[in-house]
């Protein structure tokens, strides 16, 4: 069974701080590494994603770092805001089987 693990399970950060969420996977066939953000009562929404041919991608306050040899990728949120309070899921994907394998989620709370 495919295993995708996230850490931490929950995270509390002060406004303006840095939030870091990690994702570890086992299947080396994964070839697309997204992070999804989910607010209560809503479906997940793509936040940022990376392909394995690059080690880092930045979009505004959000950065993905990818370590292929360690089979890990992480999400960094700079200058965290209360509006970032949500649950974050890593969801690595591979073409064979055509599905995303979602991690268990990390609940982020950003205090004002």
């Amino acid at each position: 069974q495919q295993q995708v693990k996230q850490s931490p399970q929950s995270l509390i950060v002060q406004k303006g701080g840095i939030s870091i969420i990690n994702c570890a996977y086992e299947n080396t066939a994964f070839d697309y590494f997204p992070w999804y953000q989910q607010f209560p009562g809503k479906g997940p929404a793509l936040l940022i994603a990376i392909r394995p041919d690059v080690s880092e991608k930045k979009e505004g306050r959000f950065t993905i770092s990818f370590n292929k040899s360690a089979k890990q990728f992480s999400l960094h949120i700079m200058d965290s805001q209360p509006g970032d309070s949500a649950t974050y899921f890593c969801a690595p994907y591979y073409n064979y089987g055509q599905n995303f394998v979602f991690g268990p989620g990390t609940r982020l709370s950003v205090l004002p």
Binding site: P34, P44, N95, G97, Q98, F100, G103
Partner: protein, 113 residues
């Protein structure tokens, strides 16, 4: 433009009953996927359909079935409901079968009593 729409938003059923959930993808999207999200967990893949054909199936029993219609909308059917089927059922659409980005609806919250 309208996003992914799902119906009903909430429903309550009893054990043994049957349920049908419906999904309309974003206009122009030809692939629909279904996910089950139990409270406090990440979504789990159930099915993917593309051009009315099943492209992938997750580890769910045969009580779960789905289909996609010529207008690319989709139905998820669950027979002989169990208490453990209580969950948020999410529909996601994408442009193609192997496109990286999924666009999710807000889900159908199923409670089985």
């Amino acid at each position: 433009d309208a996003g992914v729409t799902q119906s009903p938003t909430h429903l309550i059923k009893t054990r043994g009953q049957h349920v049908t959930l419906r999904c309309s993808p974003i206009s122009g999207h030809k692939s629909v996927s279904w996910y089950q999200q139990v409270l406090g967990q990440g979504p789990q893949f159930i099915f993917q359909y593309y051009e009315k054909e099943e492209r992938g199936r997750g580890n769910f029993p045969d009580r779960f079935s789905a289909r996609q219609f010529p207008n690319y909308s989709s139905e998820l059917n669950v027979n002989a409901l169990l208490l453990g089927d209580s969950a948020l059922y999410l529909c996601a659409s994408s442009l193609g079968a192997d496109t990286g980005e999924l666009f999710f609806g807000e889900g159908s919250r199923l409670t089985v009593l």
